[in-house]
């Protein structure tokens, strides 16, 4: 399983765009990149998944460069309610054995 590295914490202000980068140098050919969000005392919630280039949904965008050794989760115009821990996971798409790292604790300030 590919190991991921993320910043431990990030601060932002309401209305700003937040970019969280994840490094996964030993990503395998069949691996997908998935991001989850977790609020205190709740289970993680799926945000977005991608394999290459760019993926966008109603919540976020995921940018993956051609070498796929890193990825960036982009949250547009964050609000206080986006304060949470964000996890980057790398693994085979049809394999449910998702391994979580320590995540990035995002704090959005007013």
């Amino acid at each position: 399983l590919a190991k991921t590295t993320q910043p431990i914490s990030m601060d932002s202000y309401e209305g700003q765009e937040v970019n969280i980068t994840c490094s996964h140098n030993n990503i395998a050919t069949n691996d997908y990149i998935t991001w989850y969000q977790q609020f205190p005392s709740q289970g993680p919630r799926f945000i977005i998944q991608g394999y290459k280039t760019k993926v966008t949904n109603e919540v976020a965008s995921l940018f993956i460069p051609a070498d796929r050794k890193s990825s960036t989760l982009s949250l547009p115009r964050v609000s206080l309610s986006d304060t949470a821990v964000y996890y980057c996971l790398v693994g085979v798409r049809n394999n449910n054995d998702m391994r979580f790292g320590a995540g990035t604790r995002l704090t959005v300030k007013p």
């Binding site: 709740q42 289970g43 998944q49 998702m98 391994r99 979580f100 320590a102």
Partner: protein
């Protein structure tokens, strides 16, 4: 459509006791995975059940065991509890040949005294 439900939500045990946690997957899902999340840490994969069999296992001792029933619900059993077993236990469900998206329950918070 009910999501993933877990029970109990909170429980307190003493060292050496045994505990059983329960999980009902999201409707239409047939795969259940269990995670342990200590305070301030990311979830750690315990094991995964599919077709009533343990398919994959993380780095957890044999004190941690599980079961999946024909209706896809699952149980996590922990024997000989240690203080270090205190954590939030999360159940996640998905469909076998899925997109990789896991649906998590709210968790069962276990405190071992």
């Amino acid at each position: 459509d009910a999501g993933v439900t877990q029970s109990p939500t909170h429980l307190i045990k003493t060292r050496g006791q045994q505990v059983t946690l329960r999980c009902s997957p999201k409707s239409g899902h047939d795969t259940v995975s269990w995670y342990q999340q200590a305070l301030g840490q990311g979830p750690q994969f315990i094991f995964q059940y599919y077709e009533e069999e343990e398919r994959q296992r993380g780095n957890f001792p044999d004190r941690f065991s599980g079961h999946q029933f024909p209706n896809y619900s699952s149980e996590l059993n922990v024997n000989a509890l240690l203080l270090g077993d205190s954590a939030l236990y999360l159940c996640a469900s998905s469909w076998g040949a899925n997109t990789g998206e896991l649906f998590f329950g709210e968790g069962s918070r276990l405190t071992v005294l």
